[in-house]
Amino acid sequence: MVRFLRHYGTLMGMAAIIVVFWVLLPDTFMTARNWLNITQQVSMLTVVAVAMTVVMVVGDFDLSVGSMASLAGIVAAVLFTLGFSVPAALAVALGVGLVGGLVNGVLVSVIGILPFVATLATLTMYSGAAFILSGGKTIFGRDIPQAFGDFAKSGLPLGSLGDKPFVLPWLTVLALALTAVIFVVLELSTYGRRLYAIGGNAEAARLAGVRVTFLRLTAYGFTGVGAAVAGLMYAARVASANPTQGEGLMLNAIAAVFLGMTLTRHGQPRVLASVLGVLVLGIMDNGLTQLQVDSYVREVLVGLIILLAVSISALGRKAIGRR
């Protein structure tokens, strides 16, 4: 029973939430269109959460993802205003993400600063850099190439649905693709398995000859690039870049990964579990908005549901440990 609750508690909770929305919103919730909306809405968060999963696998975390996302968006937008082509600007922005991630990695893994402190400091710095580059302004309008904004509005045509065309939004496609990449890296590659070994028992990994310092450093690179991708997706979706726009991503991404961890057998971070965590957050937002639940009540409910899921799994773990 306890074991069952621990493993399936969160999953059952998710199912319950979906059923409730389905019953209360019979016409609008369980529709292909609504689910497309949800996937598109959570696409940026998915990318950050999935990238965050990589550092959390080695037992660290990264508070700077939000400001890195903002910075990447600003970098691309500033380069657009300077006349760079879309691919060139995006490449530079992703490069900034990679470098920013590796800086975090060096601080944590080589210098030995606690992840919380190191990424808190870089949070401030990356955010400051975004403000400096943009002059604190929102960059939008003519400065943003049409193609860039259009990307977020269009998608992969997949036939038609009733009278309307059925289109899988590019943002969703991108999130799926990145999830697949990180899945392959973490679950199927030797590299990923080494990261899990480090997270599971860093000392054992070191004694077994795993290059802990180096691998831990590289994990931050993924998170940096992921944050940058999410920042660019965000900028495309709002067809503008603002030095604060990534702010909300960090806490939500961490919450999603932790929520996902309650789904896995040993409480490890896993890519697909993180995606489920993101979906829970997205579905709650969508369903509660449609039910016209006050935004503030929604916040409290989301917090409560996270706590419930995590408590059940924590208590289950305790009960098992006690036997």
Binding site: G200, G209, V210, H266
Partner: protein, 510 residues
């Protein structure tokens, strides 16, 4: 599945000379030497802290020696990294059981080795499992599923899987030497036999095995040569024909037991201080014994017999049923209640269970006695300083000041901090779990002297130790634990190490 016999160099040979390694003020190795040849089982012996594991970590490329030479087939080699050691065909099982509980058995077995993978670096899971299965079968193990999660296995099976990991066949350099640091510590007799069979097969195929064990019988039975280290120095290397139990002990300790264990003073009175009746906890069943004033009760038993758990149950650190009386009064639950009535405890894992490594040692000493060292909830620092100053002298603790942190002390002095803490009460009954583990010879003698001093004052002691001569030398009576039951209590006088070991094994043999 069979082993690939060694082709090419018929007699690979690895040698170390004059190896020195210091950690802070501790000289772990001070001129150690070792020679390992293909086709032999070579035992590495020495007291706790003699430097065995350090030597092995140097071989594994995990530590770089301060001085010394390593040669392979006569040519000097460097071992800067684990990869280099693997490249020389060396495989390792390190002392502390190093597992990643959340990963599968197969993955744990490939921590050191590259996973079988396709061109894109993707893991080939089938090949990974097959490789793990093959390695397990070399030990004759079929009951462990490579897909199982490591954390779900029992400690014995975990150890077997880790041992099998050294036998994994990889594409890389051919392994020829297997280095195992206390592999049998967590194994049952039957499991150990399987390991021995595999080791003999490996030897027959021309491989070398370097093997650390504190179990004298195993060593005498299996090994072709024995090298003894003492205080980081090479003492002797003996062939099968020269080796004897007495000689090994003589080389390991370099001294007479008479000088190591101060004489016991006759108990002054026989008031029962600690009475235990029908105690149950964890695997413990129906434990009953009494400790009188000035008496030392030893607890002996095989690994996993419940010695450690018994002390924790007495302290109230784990739930227990049954009666525990201190000076005739029922003991309450929880460690606070135990300390309050003078039941003091020196835990086994001093770093994990005893010390606050980065806090002033005086704070650690005072912690369990806080109620007596404060008024109205405020700490009386002067009282603490006074108390600690006295205790530092009693246990002959070498520290710069009372504010020094435990992390900066040597292992023996760390242990003395915990002794000082246990004496601060002062104690009525003192529970000691492996009190001299990782403690050097001098500090050991200080600790023994302290124990004698306590018995003279009428304190009752319960001592758990895997060091059998120590138990015999210190205790008045020795209780034998077997699978959670106290099978008998025998007088220590006249007992030999062999006889005591036989008692520990008795039930299993019978």
């Amino acid at each position: 599945m069979s082993y690939r016999p060694l082709i090419g160099n018929p007699m690979p040979q690895l040698a170390l000379h004059g190896v020195v390694k210091t950690y802070g003020q501790t000289r772990a190795l001070d001129g150690a030497a070792l020679e390992l040849r293909g086709g032999e089982i070579h035992a590495l012996m020495g007291e706790n802290g003699a430097g065995k594991s350090t030597l092995i970590r140097i071989l594994a490329g995990l530590e770089v020696p301060d001085a010394g030479q390593i040669t392979m087939n006569g040519a000097p080699v460097a071992l800067p990294s684990p990869a280099a050691a693997e490249g020389l065909g060396l495989r390792f099982l390190h002392q502390e059981l190093q597992i990643v509980s959340a990963l599968s058995v197969a993955e744990n077995m490939h921590l050191t080795h590259p996973y079988p993978s396709s061109g894109f670096g993707l893991v080939r899971w089938g090949a990974l499992r097959a490789s793990a299965k093959a390695a397990l079968e070399r030990l004759g193990i079929t009951h462990i599923d490579p897909r199982a999660t490591m954390g779900d296995l029992g400690p014995g099976d975990q150890m077997l899987a880790r041992i099998a990991a050294t036998l994994v066949d990889t594409k890389g350099p051919r392994p020829w030497a297997y280095v195992l640091d206390e592999p049998t510590a967590a194994l049952t007799g039957a499991e150990a036999e399987r390991l021995f069979a595999a080791l003999l097969t490996l030897r027959a195929a021309g491989h070398a095995i370097l093997y650390v064990s504190h179990r004298m019988d195993e060593v005498l039975r299996l090994s072709d040569r024995v090298t003894v280290l003492r205080d980081g120095r090479h003492v002797s290397t003996m062939g099968r024909d020269q080796v004897s139990r007495e000689q090994i002990i003589q080389d390991m300790t370099g001294r007479d037991f008479a000088t190591l264990y101060p004489p016991a003073s006759a108990p002054t009175e026989t008031a029962p201080l600690l009475q235990v009746r029908s105690l149950q906890s964890g695997i413990l069943r129906d434990i009953a014994f009494t400790v009188n004033a000035g008496e030392v009760l030893g607890l002996a038993g095989l690994s996993g017999s419940g010695r450690n758990h018994l002390l924790r149950a007495l302290m109230g650190a784990v739930p227990r049923q049954g009666q525990v009386l201190i000076k005739g009064a029922q003991l309450g639950h929880g460690p606070a209640a135990a300390w309050a009535v003078g039941l003091a405890y020196v835990p086994r894992e001093r770093r994990a269970e005893g010390l606050m490594l980065l806090q002033p040692l005086a704070d650690t000493v005072a912690l369990p006695h806080m109620p007596a060292l404060s008024t109205a909830g405020f700490v009386r620092r002067a009282w603490i300083a006074h108390l600690v100053a006295r205790l530092v002298q009693t246990v002959r603790l070498k520290a710069q000041s009372q504010a020094q942190v435990a992390a900066e002390l040597s292992g023996g002095n760390q242990q003395k901090v915990l002794f000082a803490r246990a004496l601060a009460g002062p104690p009525v009954v003192l529970l000691l779990d492996e009190p001299t583990r990782g403690v050097d010879v001098g500090a050991k003698f200080d600790i023994y002297a302290t124990i004698r001093g306590l018995t003279a004052q009428g304190v009752g002691l319960v001592i758990v130790s895997s060091d059998l001569p120590e138990l015999i030398g210190l205790c008045d009576r020795i209780g034998i634990l077997h699978s959670g039951r106290l099978t008998q209590i025998v007088p220590a006088a006249g007992l030999t190490e062999g006889a005591l070991l036989a008692l520990c094994y008795e039930k299993e043999v019978a």
